[in-house]
Symmetry: C2
Subunit: 227 residues, 2 copies
C-alpha cells in the first residue's frame, strides 16, 4: 500500500480534474508530498508502487520523476530508480546561498514598482502568520509574503527560481521550527522588510532580505551541527 493510502482516493477525486494530464497530476502531488515532508529524504520511490497508488500506469510516474529530478527533488540512478533527495547540511547551505543571492536581486527590481495593494497584502500576510500555529500553513504564508514583495520584478524565470528554492527551504524550516519553536526574530525581520519596501528603499530591503536569509542559514547550520 501507499504511505497516504487513505487520502489518495479523495485526492484523485478532488484534484485530478484540475490537471490536463496524469503526468502533471502525479508530479504535483509528489512535489507537494516531498516539500511538506510527507515523503522524507531518502525514501525510495518505486514506480510500480506509485503507479498503483495513483491508479495509473508506470509511464506518467516515470515522466513525473524525470521532472522532479530536474528540480533536484529526487535523485535518479540508472536501473536503480529514484530516491527523495535527502536534506543534508550541504544541500541546505546550497539552498541558502542561492536564495541569499537571488532574493535581494528580486527586491531591487520589484520594490520600486510595488503597488499599495501589494504592500497591504504583504502586511495582511504578516498578521496571518502571527495568528497561525500550523507549521505547513506557516511555511505557505511565509512563502506568499516573500513572493508578494517580489511580484513586480518583471523577471518570471528569476521569480520561478526563487519560488522553487523557497519551497524547498520549507523542508529545512520544518526541522528548524521543530527544534526552536516559533521564530519571533524572523517576524520582526519581516516587519522591517515591509517597512523598507513601503518607504521605497529597494537597497535597504535587499540588505534586510539578505541578512534574513543568512540568519536562517546560520540557524539551520547550527541545527545540523548539533544533530
Amino acid at each position: 500500500m501507499l504511505f497516504w493510502a487513505m487520502d489518495i482516493a479523495d485526492l484523485i477525486a478532488r484534484d485530478r480534474p484540475r490537471f490536463r494530464t496524469a503526468t502533471a497530476f502525479v508530479e504535483a502531488v509528489l512535489r507537494e508530498a516531498i516539500l511538506t515532508g510527507a515523503l522524507p529524504g531518502g525514501t525510495p520511490l518505486r514506480q510500480e508502487e506509485l503507479a498503483a497508488g495513483f491508479a495509473v500506469s508506470r509511464m506518467p510516474v516515470r515522466e513525473a520523476l524525470r521532472q522532479l529530478e530536474a528540480q533536484a527533488l529526487v535523485d535518479f540512478t540508472p536501473h536503480k530508480g529514484a530516491v527523495v533527495t535527502d536534506i543534508s547540511a550541504g544541500e541546505a547551505a546550497d539552498n541558502y546561498a542561492i536564495r541569499a543571492a537571488l532574493e535581494p536581486a528580486a527586491l531591487r527590481l520589484s520594490v520600486p514598482r510595488l503597488t499599495n495593494a501589494d504592500l497591504d497584502q504583504a502586511e495582511a500576510l504578516i498578521g496571518e502568520m502571527d495568528a497561525e500555529d500550523d507549521l505547513a500553513r506557516l511555511g505557505e504564508l511565509n512563502r506568499r509574503f516573500h513572493l508578494t514583495l517580489y511580484a513586480r520584478a518583471g523577471r518570471p524565470r528569476l521569480i520561478a527560481l526563487v519560488e522553487q528554492h523557497l519551497a524547498a527551504a520549507d523542508r529545512y524550516l520544518r526541522f528548524h521550527f521543530a527544534a526552536l519553536g516559533r521564530d519571533h526574530m524572523a517576524q520582526s525581520e519581516h516587519a522591517a522588510l515591509l517597512a523598507a519596501a513601503r518607504a521605497g528603499d529597494a537597497e535597504g530591503a535587499a540588505r534586510i532580505a539578505q541578512a534574513h536569509v543568512e540568519t536562517a542559514a546560520r540557524n539551520i547550520e547550527a541545527f545540523f551541527a548539533r544533530r
Copy 2:
C-alpha cells in the same frame, strides 16, 4: 529527415556508448543542439521524427523532452508537443539578472580558496580565447574560464545553476558576436577578474563579475532593441 541527418549516425557510433541509457543520450544531444543554435528557438520537436533520427522509440525522447522542459530549454504544451524555447529579450534579461546575482556570490565563496593551479588554468584559458576564432569554441572557453574561478565555492547546486545559465547565455552570445564581432572589452574584463582573484580580493572580483554580466546584458538588450 532530420536536421543534422548526416552526422547523426557518426554521433550514435561515437557518443552513444558513453551514456548508460538512451534517455540520457537523447537529452544530452538535444541540449547541445539547442544551446549551440543548431536547433533555433521556435523549432517544433516532433517525437516520432526525433525517435527515428536517434534510432530509438518515442519513449526515451519523451523523457528527454521532459527534462529539457524543466531546464527551460523547451516549452511543453499538453497534446501539442514540445517547441524549442525562443530567445526573446525577456528571456535574455531573466538570464542575465540571475547570473548577475549568482556569479558574484560564487566568487565570494570560491576566490579565497582558489589554488595557484586554478589561477594558472584560468590564465591559460584567457590566452586560448585570444587565439580562438570559432564562435562555438569561444563560448566553451569563456564558460570554462568562469567555471574555473567558481570551482572552489563548495556549493555544487549553486555552481550547477550558474553553469546551466552560462550555457544558455551562449545562445544570446551567438547573436552578440554575429552583430559585434569579437568582444575586446570582455577580454580586458576577464583579465581584471583574474587579477582580483590572484590578489585574493573576493569582493573586488565579485564587483567586476557583476559589472561584467551587466555590461553583457546591456549589449544584448541594445541588440534586441535594434532588431
